[in-house]
Symmetry: C2
Subunit: 318 residues, 2 copies
């Protein structure tokens, strides 16, 4: 049994996980402290001690964080959704707060989720795949087998996989990262909502139940409207699927990746998004890849972080 | 001493190369037979025997081809610029035609050129880089170091590195590959020439010495005009650099690659192209990569193919 911990922007989730099966035996969660990495580590340690009263033998933990890591994974770098974090030695903080632990591993959350899919989920048996997470941001992680290497592809400084910041239109909408036309700037949750709202405002003739929504048009609300037969809501996910497919074709061509595993909240929109992404990917990828490329749904939903974090430990102690 | 052979669409170049220094000791070249792979292999064998009269001890050769390879590199797949080639067992043909050779290796030409840059050129000492070749097409090859692996990144079926077919505008100009907005569809030699010509025709007010050109506006002709002070010619390479920089930013973000090595004929346009590509790359890449990314000129010009092909043999027999 190993602890898997998933640090999110709002919640930290913690699970006692059976390593062999990837089954979550016990789970707890608490609000992410917005007061920096040291306090987050202390809070984690306090909750770990609670869990240890029931599972005293646990002395290994893996942690996924929503930020980039340096190459040896000792530092978390400026995670955009964690207040008060700069360049933080999270692993060291946790080792200091939990000296009885024999193995503590930390990695980026998308890379951790890719590990879960590779070892226990939709990526089992694949030599190469790209995991894409459609949430607040659009995350990514590349799983590769090259010569004697098999695992998460990290790149020159450990940050590889930023699929969300590959642009599909150099003149496209401005992205938070400073560039234009990044796929995140179209289908990241906030961008998707804002685009849908703007389209309704700019086109008064569109009939849609979403006009009645006074709040933000979250992907969930748009999906509900789509499932009730709202044609405009459907068109929002069709467009999202088309744009995603175009971005996937670029990754397929550059990396010769055949399988794309899509997870995250926006992926819950389901068949409309997936079918359109598939159609556009097939249309745009190089001819020799056309019969081969496929898009799969991630197997693990919001447990991917915990399960993948647990696997970090398994991988590190192999 | 090893033979390095570079099969091009019009010429096959062959060099006797000192392995340790990468120095070409003797060289010959002949017209590429446009009658299929078996005839090309026979022609190569004939010229190899000629060279062997002066260098009888040579029994190893590497070959670069302008086409995709399958994963174990036994087959060349549908090289677009070699007439009569489909899926061809070139390595087997060469082994049959030259049974006295102990080691024959074949690989894609961009991958071979990347090997030359990695071992003896502008990529020496780098853990990761992307080689981009700007010629008739826009080629690419990814050099990576991940865990125990170091070498050319091949991907799931051996075709990774197709940078030329990453799109920077999903609504952009139609590319020969069937997609839209591929960087090759802007700055591949023919596309670059056609775009320049069309701009002159569409904008009669532009003053340019290139209007006097009756033939195709090859990159060479445009570069000559630029070097004579033609502002329009300069703008052609500025735009090419901007577009290239946008495409490089995508690769930098996805792969966490810090160094881009640019080779090929169009790269000879020089500083204007390189400076603009650098400026755009810096502007568009993720903030953490901004201080790190760089663009270098490839060290090997038209000898990259021969020298890299020779290195295939060194690598295979390590």
């Amino acid at each position: 049994m190993t602890l898997g911990i998933d640090i999110g922007g709002t919640t930290i989730k913690m699970g006692v996980i059976d390593e062999a099966r990837g089954a979550v035996l016990a789970e707890s969660s608490f609000v992410t402290p917005q007061t920096g990495a040291w306090n987050a580590a202390s809070e984690i340690a306090r909750h770990v001690r609670d869990l240890k009263s029931a599972y005293p033998e646990i002395d290994r933990m893996g942690v996924g964080v929503p930020g980039a890591m340096n190459r040896d994974r000792s530092l978390v770098r400026y995670p955009p959704n964690l207040l008060g974090w700069n360049e933080e030695p999270l692993k060291k903080y946790l080792e200091e707060a939990l000296p009885e632990f024999k193995s503590i591993e930390v990695d980026n959350d998308a890379k951790v989720a890719a590990l879960a899919e590779a070892k226990l989920g939709s990526g089992r048996g694949l030599s190469h795949f790209l995991l894409v997470t459609l949430g607040t941001g659009v995350g990514g992680a590349i799983y590769s087998t090259e010569g004697t290497f098999e695992g998460i592809y990290r790149g020159a400084s450990g940050g590889a996989g930023e699929f969300g910041h590959t642009s599909i239109d150099f003149n496209g909408p401005k992205c938070n990262c400073g560039s234009r036309g990044c796929i995140e700037a179209y289908i990241g949750q906030q961008y998707l909502s804002d685009r849908a709202k703007k389209k309704l405002i700019d086109n008064p003739s569109i009939a849609s139940s979403l006009r009645a929504e006074e709040n933000e048009l979250t992907p969930k609300i748009i999906a509900m409207a789509m499932n009730s037969g709202d044609a405009f809501a459907k068109s929002v996910f069709e467009e999202a699927g088309m744009l995603l497919g175009a971005a996937l074709a670029n990754a397929a061509n550059l990396l010769d990746i055949h399988v794309f595993i899509i997870g995250g909240g926006v992926a819950e929109a389901g068949a409309v998004l997936f079918d359109q992404a598939r159609a556009t990917l097939h249309e745009r990828v190089l001819a020799n890849l056309r019969p081969i490329v496929e898009i799969r749904k991630a197997q693990f939903g919001n447990q991917a972080g915990m399960i993948g974090a647990m696997l970090l430990v398994t991988e590190a102690n192999k």
